[in-house]
Structures are given as structure tokens and as C-alpha cells.
């Protein structure tokens, strides 16, 4: 019932949200998160590149989604994550959750994001006019996991 997609191609977040919400007359609440490539101060970013670990990425995300489905009363969940080169302003990834009650949909979406950030095997590299640099993990992202334990 849930859907996980790891892809190089762009996706249309609005179309995905509509498709995900369509015909859910049993579920009243849909939450989505969309992650966009920030251009950085004065548009310094030329592009972002995302590397991933193909053999692990799908199973790791599926495991995170299964955990969310067990923790909350969810009707459905969707995760799309891109890899490869990404232009500033374009979508990196999205998650969506559907539930009867909004508290479940919100909590599950935040949980999915927190775990995807720090436990799914993606690495971001930023290419600017000054050169290329791997994005460093933020301590806040690791800390964010502690609230779900």
C-alpha cells in the first residue's frame, strides 16, 4: 500500500500529492513535506549532486516506512527521493502521509523526515563557483532522532 521511489528524474510534487490524496474517503488528513534545493546566499549554488548506495537505499527507506506504519494509525505513506544532479529550486524529495486524524499524519511525516535525513544512505555535494563541498551532517539532525526513542 505504501510507495517508495528512488529516482534520478524530477517529479511533480503537486501531482504526487493529488494522486496520493485521491479517493481517500476514509482518511481525512494528508500531510506532505517537500525538500527543495536552496540556492544559498546570493545564488552561489550552481547545482547539488546526490550520491546514494543503490543496494541499500530502497530497503533502508522501506524499513523506515514500515516503522512509521507500526507506530501510528496511518492509512498510507509515500516517499520519493532523487539522486544525481539537481538544480537550485528543484525538488530533492518528498514524503506524504495519510491518516484519519491529523496528529498521526503530522507525527509520522516528521518521523519519516528525521530518519530519512540521518539513516537513509544519501550524501549531498554542493557545487558553487568556488568549488565542490560535501554537505556536513548537522548535529540537530542526529539529535532529532532522540525524541522518537
Amino acid at each position: 500500500m505504501t510507495e517508495v521511489r528512488v529516482q534520478e528524474a524530477p517529479f511533480d510534487a503537486g501531482a504526487e500529492l493529488n494522486r496520493f490524496s485521491a479517493g481517500r474517503s476514509d482518511l481525512g488528513a494528508v500531510v506532505s513535506f517537500t525538500g527543495l534545493v536552496r540556492g544559498g546566499p546570493d545564488g552561489a549554488l550552481i547545482r547539488m549532486e546526490i550520491e546514494h548506495y543503490p543496494a541499500m537505499t530502497g530497503p533502508a527507506i522501506e524499513a523506515i516506512v514500515s516503522e512509521a506504519m507500526q507506530r501510528w494509525s496511518l492509512g498510507d505513506a509515500l516517499v520519493i527521493h532523487r539522486f544525481g544532479p539537481l538544480e537550485p529550486g528543484t525538488q530533492i524529495m518528498m514524503v506524504a502521509t495519510a491518516a484519519r486524524h491529523r496528529a498521526d499524519a503530522f507525527a509520522a511525516a516528521e518521523f519519516l523526515m528525521d530518519y530519512l535525513k540521518s539513516r537513509a544512505p544519501f550524501w549531498k555535494k554542493e557545487i558553487t563557483r568556488e568549488g565542490a563541498a560535501w554537505v556536513e551532517a548537522r548535529a540537530e539532525d542526529e539529535d532529532a532522532l532522540s525524541r522518537w526513542r
Binding site: 525538500g35 546526490i50 550520491e51 546514494h52 548506495y53 543496494a55 541499500m56 530497503p59 533502508a60 527521493h81 530533492i92 524529495m93 523526515m113 530519512l116 535525513k117 540521518s118 539513516r119 537513509a120 544512505p121 544519501f122 550524501w123 549531498k124 555535494k125 560535501w134 554537505v135 556536513e136 551532517a137 539532525d141 542526529e142
Partner: protein, 82 residues
Amino acid sequence: MIDIVYFAWLRERIGLPRERIETDATTVGALVEELRGREERYALAFSDLSAIRVALDQELSDFDAPIATVREIAFFPPMTGG
């Protein structure tokens, strides 16, 4: 024989994405010690283990884990997806 895969700056510092090696190491940590002893680029790449994560057969693990039955070991920096 065991496959080792590297990602992000670990891949760049070591200079290859994947290699197959023969080893007598019984844990991840012992394997890392062996790699460090091979060449300067490995010593540099593995100089700060707190900045490195490990996965055994595509499951997150740690440096104490045994590797006797493992087919693929992955080394990479903390993930930055999402």
C-alpha cells in the same frame, strides 16, 4: 573475499568506489586497522572514525561487529539526505 564499497568523500579520498580484498580481520575495526596500514590514502580516509559510518550487507552496523559471514562492507560519512 569480501567486497568493500566507499561513498562520498571516503570514495574520493581512497580513489575508488569498490574493491574486493582478502582479509583475516574478524571485526570491522580490525579490517579498518589493516586498511590503514596499506597506504597513506587509507590512513587519511580513516583518520577519524567518529566521522565514518559502516553498513554490513546493507544494514547499518558498527566497528565492533564481526565480519566472518559478511559479503559487502560499506564505509561512508554520516548521511545527509532528506
